[in-house]
């Protein structure tokens, strides 16, 4: 991967680099400019993402300036990606550039705020991309509160030229975080199952892409049936289920090296894997006769531990973000329902009591909700409930919606939807408020998405 070769000068920003193993990007704050205006007493521009309904904030994103004329193409493309990210979040309403009055030619000059107020922009993003003599890109941006007339954020980054899309995602995250107080989710990837061919003989391949659908990369060739890929916390590894010779098994795949290995030496089919939050363990189902039980394997010591022991189907385990508990589905009570147990196994408590069946529970990275698939009255919906089972809400329901996965900030859920018949599934996102459903572009049919943590 290119990120590893990035240089690491000018590391002074505290928000992008703390505690990261891999130094992905060099970032630095741009000093706030001395403004001719006194800071207004008006409340600062700020979004509350916890509200059920929200008016998208009008924001202006004039094309970033090219540091040299040759840079203006990349600068424009970066602007478009930021604009698209902010629009898709549902929290921002980018204003049509045709309405802009001031043309930004120098991002080091204070914008003419009256020109931006006149078109009702509340936020303004200006930026500049400059190719350095060593070939790297320097990206700078400033976020302005138009009504208060002050700068809310200013950052610069250095990266290799082929990383220009990531720069756009990182700037998008910086804007999102500054205005909402929440971490963003744009500098992330999705691993999913790419599906081609007729339904009776579907060819399934593991694929990796940026969260906006760009940079699709295939990780397997389609010879073996592959299902349910999940990221490790470092995003360098994927665990998934694959058919091949013999029993279907849970595998690990290093996406950097392409190295692949079977997880454990279990006497039967293993499936439905997921990493622990510290990346040290993989939890999965083992088929034993007619029953499926949940096991964990420590990746360093290779020791395995049985976590459930029932004459039932126990599957789809998912850790709480602190690693202390596991939610999973079980039909031990008849129909599939969601249970929570300690990460060491033992007694489990049922938390789903609504109508229908509940499956594929996934714990939010924030810890506050568990997302799931609910099957009820011939429909498949995606919902959330608190880990104690309270506060259940169905976000989307229809013929077939399945397999939720969380954005790293716990505000957005991705899932797949199948319209039935000879067609195939597609990926969608929806906010946990139940608003802002968006289709995610993929080259073919797509299913089993898993959202990575933030890359930087």
């Amino acid at each position: 991967m290119t990120e590893k070769s990035l240089l690491s000068d000018a590391v002074s920003d505290r928000r992008f680099l703390p505690g990261r193993r891999d130094l992905l990007l060099a970032a630095a704050s741009i000093a706030a400019m001395q403004l001719p205006l006194l800071r207004s007493a008006q409340a600062q521009l700020r979004l509350d993402v916890t509200q059920g309904t929200i008016q998208p904030v009008p924001i202006a994103l004039p094309d970033f300036v090219g540091g040299t004329p040759a840079d203006s193409n990349v600068a424009r493309n970066v602007t478009q990606i930021i604009t698209s990210n902010l629009r898709r979040s549902g929290l921002f309403n980018p204003i049509d550039p045709a309405a802009y009055i001031e043309k930004i030619v120098n991002i080091d000059a204070v914008p003419k705020f009256p020109d931006w107020r006149a078109i009702n922009a509340q936020g303004l993003v200006t930026g500049r991309i400059t190719k350095q003599s060593d070939g790297r890109l320097k990206a700078e941006f400033r976020l302005w509160d138009v009504f208060a007339g002050n700068q809310l954020a200013g950052q610069q980054y250095f990266t290799t030229a082929e990383n220009w899309r990531r720069i756009a995602h990182i700037i998008s995250d910086a804007i999102y975080e500054r205005l909402t107080g929440e971490k963003g989710y744009f500098d992330t990837r999705i691993v999913f199952v790419d599906e081609t061919g007729p339904k009776e003989r579907r060819v399934k391949r593991l694929a990796l892409m940026d969260q906006d659908g760009a940079n699709v990369r295939y990780l397997t060739r389609g010879d073996d049936l592959v299902l349910t890929p999940r990221f490790s916390p470092s995003t360098q590894e994927i665990t998934y289920m694959s058919y091949g010779q013999g029993d279907p098994r849970v595998y690990l795949l290093n996406v950097e090296t392409g190295q692949r290995e079977i997880v454990g030496n279990f006497p039967g089919m293993t499936f439905s894997p997921r990493f622990s939050p510290d990346g040290q363990r993989v939890v999965m189902s083992l088929q034993q006769g007619g029953n499926s039980n949940i096991f964990a394997m420590d990746l360093r010591s290779r020791s395995t531990m049985r976590l459930t022991d029932t004459a039932a189907i126990d599957t789809a385990p998912s850790f709480s973000p602190d690693g202390a508990r596991i939610c999973f589905e079980s039909d031990r009570g008849g129909r599939p329902q969601i249970y929570v147990m300690a990460a060491s196994g033992g007694g489990a408590q049922r938390i789903s009591f609504g109508e229908g069946s509940y499956s594929t529970p996934v714990w939010s990275p924030r810890g506050d909700y568990i997302a799931y698939t609910r099957q009820h009255a011939g429909k498949f919906g995606i919902g959330v409930m608190k880990p104690d089972g309270s506060g259940e809400r169905i976000l989307v329901e229809g013929f077939h919606n399945e397999g939720p996965t969380w954005a790293p900030n716990g505000r957005v859920i991705m899932f797949f939807r199948d319209s039935g018949g000879k067609g195939g599934p597609s990926l969608y996102t929806i906010d946990i408020t139940g608003r802002n459903e968006q289709k995610v572009p993929t080259p073919s049919f797509a299913s089993d998405p898993a959202w990575s943590p933030l890359l930087s």
């Binding site: 339904k199 499926s292 789809a316």
Partner: protein
């Protein structure tokens, strides 16, 4: 099914293809393709196509169920008799689910269905060492449409004779 058809020759192709078409058309009666009386004479006794056409290689399940229906028991009885008689065959029991379930659960459900068929055959004296099971969950439907006529065809356990045996 496809693998079986591929290996057939001459007039026997017509017989088995007729069975396949019944499947593709989402027959309302799940037992319709279990042989089909008119085709009985076509296959060589003891051949793989004899098993598919005259015995019936698959059983069907109710929604979200792993219980053997009376028809399933009848088919498995015939399978057991045939497998006793032609004991050179090893075979794989494939368990499948319809698309009206989630991926992970359906993998386990398919495994349970294959296990139910295996348990029955073992109870009728077939040696466990001749068989293995595999679950495909909802990954390999034989009938594709968005209503129950197809789903009922896909909730199945298929006994596939190993070609090399």
């Amino acid at each position: 099914m496809i693998a079986v058809i591929r290996g057939l020759r001459g007039i026997q192709i017509a017989a088995v293809l007729a069975g396949a078409l019944t499947l593709a058309a989402c027959a309302s009666n799940p037992t319709a393709q279990n042989g089909g009386a008119g085709m009985a004479g076509a296959a060589t006794p003891g051949s793989a196509q004899d098993f598919v056409v005259n015995v019936g290689d698959r059983i069907f399940f109710e929604t979200d169920s792993t219980q053997l229906t009376p028809q399933a028991v009848a088919t498995l009885e015939k399978q057991a008799q045939w497998l006793q008689r032609y004991n050179r065959y090893t075979f794989t029991i494939e368990g499948h689910a319809d698309e009206r379930g989630t991926r992970e659960y359906n993998i386990a459900l398919g495994a349970r269905r294959a296990q139910a068929a295996q348990d029955f055959l073992i109870s009728r004296g077939i040696d466990r060492s001749r068989m293995r099971t595999i679950s495909y969950g909802k990954e390999r439907p034989v009938a594709v449409c968005d209503d129950i006529s197809c789903w009922s065809q896909n909730r199945r356990a298929v006994t596939v004779l190993n070609a090399s045996s």
